[in-house]
Structure formats: structure tokens, C-alpha cells
């Protein structure tokens, strides 16, 4: 039952391969799995595609991963922030690819990956540059854009508590992308503030059921 509990963040991120698509939770710093990202930097995987709402803040975490040159492409909704100088520099130097995705599409495309949906017609972005070249369809008098799933090889998630089976609860708005990313990746790695005994989480309040979680570490 405790096969999912890892001793260290280094153990938890072992085996992530070069070229992987890595989903990284968090909205700004809320829910950002900082220790796992730091461990990924030490682990050394390169040529990564990172899917995350933002493109790193300051010089730590995701920004540090970018600064090390490990990331080939960023898929995000909002790269440009007051403290996103690492990404900004790489982007302006042509050293990193960027796919900007409306935030709702980012969430829904990962949800589709997790739910077995092949593609979906979406109302967001119709008539805008972010829908250019994409298939559209009129349904019931409204135009929609066809959007495809975003699947991860790995997800790195920050949650609040886990039980030893891997059930997760989050805390306030730090929940954000975690539950969706947990459904969308083959290997789901979670850092939590606390691991409790199985049975100690309220079954009605579990947000991410244990089936989605592969590895848990306390951070």
C-alpha cells in the first residue's frame, strides 16, 4: 500500500527521460511543486516540453530549469510576467519555442487527454490569432474551434495532503491545475506537505483519487 511513497524528491523524479513532455502544476507560485522541479534539474533530463500556466518566476523552480537549457518548448497561457526574465531572454534569443494556449483550453485539453476524448469543439479563441489554421465548425449557430488533447509523459504536482494510497487533497486556490494534470500524464509525481494514514482523508473530500497518483513525496 505504500509503494507510492518515496523518501526523497530525487527518488521521486528518477527515470524521467530526455524529450519528455512534463506537465507542471501551479498558478504562479500557488501549487507549484518547487522541490520536484529542483529535483528534476538535478536529475538532468533535457530537451523537455513543459506545459504549465506560466513560464517561470524569478530565478528558481521552473525558471531555473529554463535557465539550465533543459527545455525545448513551453506550452502555457501566460509567459509574460513581471518576473519572467529568464523565459523572456530565451524567447527573444530564439532559444525556446512557445505555444500560447488560452488558459481554459490548456485546462480542457489536458482534461480531454485524461478522459479519453479525441478532440473537442471549443468556443474560445474563435476569430483570433490563436485559432488561426485550426479547423472550425458551426454548431447550433455558434462557431467552435477544434482542439486536441495535451498528454504528458510526466506530471509534477504540488498538493496539500496525501494518504498512503495516493489520494490527494489540495489547499485553497493552490488546487488549480493539479487535479487535471494528474489525469493527463502517464507518470504522476506529487509533492505534499503531509502524508497521512490511509483512511484519514474524508472520502467525500478527496479531489484526486489514488488511481491517478504514482509517486508521492513530502516536501
Amino acid at each position: 500500500m505504500s509503494a507510492k511513497i518515496y523518501e526523497t524528491a530525487a527518488d521521486a523524479v528518477a527515470g524521467i527521460e530526455d524529450g519528455s513532455t512534463v506537465l507542471i502544476g501551479g498558478f504562479g507560485m500557488a501549487g507549484m511543486p518547487v522541490q520536484l522541479v529542483d529535483a528534476l534539474i538535478d536529475q538532468g533530463a533535457a530537451d523537455l516540453t513543459v506545459v504549465s500556466n506560466n513560464a517561470g518566476n524569478g530565478d528558481t523552480g521552473l525558471a531555473a530549469l529554463l535557465a539550465k537549457g533543459r527545455v525545448r518548448k513551453v506550452v502555457c497561457s501566460f509567459p509574460r510576467q513581471v518576473d519572467s526574465w529568464v523565459f523572456d531572454g530565451l524567447y527573444r534569443a530564439g532559444k525556446i519555442e512557445l505555444e500560447v494556449v488560452p488558459q481554459g483550453n490548456l485546462a480542457e485539453r489536458m482534461r480531454a487527454a485524461g478522459a479519453g476524448i479525441g478532440a473537442f469543439y471549443c468556443p474560445t479563441g474563435v476569430g483570433t490569432p490563436l485559432a488561426e489554421g485550426k479547423e472550425t465548425r458551426m454548431i447550433d449557430g455558434r462557431t467552435y474551434v477544434l482542439e486536441y488533447p495535451i498528454k504528458g509523459d510526466v506530471a509534477l504536482i504540488g498538493a496539500h495532503r496525501a494518504d498512503r494510497m495516493g489520494n490527494l487533497v489540495y489547499r485553497k486556490t493552490a488546487r488549480n491545475f493539479g487535479p487535471v494534470m494528474a489525469t493527463a500524464a502517464r507518470l504522476v509525481i506529487v509533492q505534499v506537505s503531509e502524508i497521512v494514514e490511509t483512511g484519514d482523508l474524508d472520502p467525500e473530500a478527496v479531489v484526486t483519487p489514488s488511481i491517478y497518483v504514482d509517486r508521492v513525496v513530502t516536501a
Binding site: G114, A115, G116, I117, D163, G199, P203, S210, I211
Partner: protein
């Protein structure tokens, strides 16, 4: 000797990997739960919104709000989680369950499954979650008798009953043999009280021994 339904259930239970997430279809497949060892770590899913379902509820434990997909009162185990129907079927359809075990009217050589409708013109069609289960789990095991009451094989070249899913079955556990459905055809893993030649004589599908 051929296997009875409990022996078939025990055989399937033995083949389910430690710690697997499993959905047992209504009817006979639910018997598999009785044969899982206490330390199997297997987590049962029921499509009406629950993971880590426990055994059937008895006496004072019966709670009308806590039922399985067959609408039978069940119990929860430590580590249970509840979720709504869209999340539950996203879990199934997204390929997160390791194994599901389903009954069948027919399975074809190519792994097509027919288990929801006899095709009789006056039958009221009712599918429930069968089609979602068929296409969702990483491995789909069928549990059925090999021959129908009229003696005809339920393993067939092509299903004549309406399909539940196309090419979705991985293994077929029957009273007389266990079949593996592979890209190169059907392989007989083991037989029970019948020889491979006898099987080949009665089952109208090429069988690799």
C-alpha cells in the same frame, strides 16, 4: 474437469496484478472479488462513482446511498474516494483502470465483444456502462461459459449479436479454457477437462496451442 463459476473467478483473481485498479462488471464477474487475497492491494472501481469499494453490505451496514453498479448495497474501505459520474467515466474512458472483467454473449477472433443486447426485435435495449468499460480499461478480461445452452460456441469468427466494442477484449476466461487474444490470433493458454483437439473441433475459430 471444467471449471465452475467460482473456480473461474479464482483463476481471474490470481491473474490480476498486485495493486491493480479493477472494475468488475455486474453479474458473475463480481465473484472475482471474493477470491482476491487480503494483501492483493487491488482497488475496486464502481462506475457509479467510487474507488476502493468493499464487500456487499449486510444488516445494519446497508446504506441506500452506497451501492455498486448493480445497485447492490456495498461498503467502503479505508482510502475510498467518491466522485460524480462524468469523473467516473472519464477515469474509465481515459484508460486509467488496469483491468476490467466483463460477461459476454460472444467474443470474436479479433476481440470484438457482444454483451449488451441479444438483438431480439422486441428486446428493450439497455447498455448501461458496458460500452464505456469495453473500450476504457488497459486490459479487458471476459468471463463466460465457452458454449451457449444450445451448444454453440460463444467464441466466434464474427459476432452475430450487436457489438459492445470493437477489438477490445484481451483475454477470455471460460469453464473449459483460457484464451489470449493476440494480434496474430487466439492462443489457448490452458484447458480444463478438454483437449486442444476437442476444443478445435467445437470452436469455429483458429486456435494456437
Amino acid at each position: 474437469m471444467s471449471l465452475d463459476k467460482h473456480q473461474m473467478a479464482a483463476l481471474i483473481a490470481r491473474d490480476i496484478p498486485h495493486g491493480a485498479y479493477v472494475n468488475l462488471g455486474i453479474g458473475r464477474p463480481t465473484l472475482v472479488a471474493d477470491h482476491l487475497p487480503a494483501d492483493s492491494g487491488v482497488v475496486l472501481h464502481t462506475e457509479n462513482g467510487m474507488l476502493n469499494m468493499g464487500p456487499a453490505a449486510k444488516g445494519d451496514d446497508v446504506d441506500p446511498d452506497l451501492i455498486n453498479a448493480g445497485k447492490i448495497p456495498v461498503t467502503e474501505l479505508p482510502g475510498t474516494s467518491y466522485f460524480h459520474h462524468a469523473d467516473s467515466f472519464a477515469m474509465m474512458r481515459g484508460g486509467h483502470l488496469d483491468v476490467c472483467v466483463l460477461g459476454a454473449f460472444q467474443v470474436s477472433a479479433g476481440g470484438d465483444l457482444a454483451n449488451w443486447h441479444t438483438g431480439e426485435p422486441d428486446a428493450i435495449p439497455a447498455v448501461g456502462g458496458a460500452m464505456d468499460l469495453a473500450i476504457g480499461a488497459k486490459s479487458v478480461y471476459v468471463m463466460m461459459t465457452l458454449f451457449a445452452k444450445d451448444g454453440s460456441s460463444k467464441l466466434v469468427p464474427e459476432c452475430t449479436y450487436p457489438l459492445t466494442g470493437v477489438g477490445c477484449v484481451d483475454r477470455v476466461y471460460t469453464d473449459l479454457a483460457t484464451f489470449l487474444i493476440t494480434p496474430s490470433g487466439i492462443e489457448v493458454r490452458e484447458t480444463f477437462g478438454i483437449t486442444l483437439d476437442e476444443l478445435r473441433a467445437r470452436v469455429p475459430v483458429p486456435l494456437a496451442g
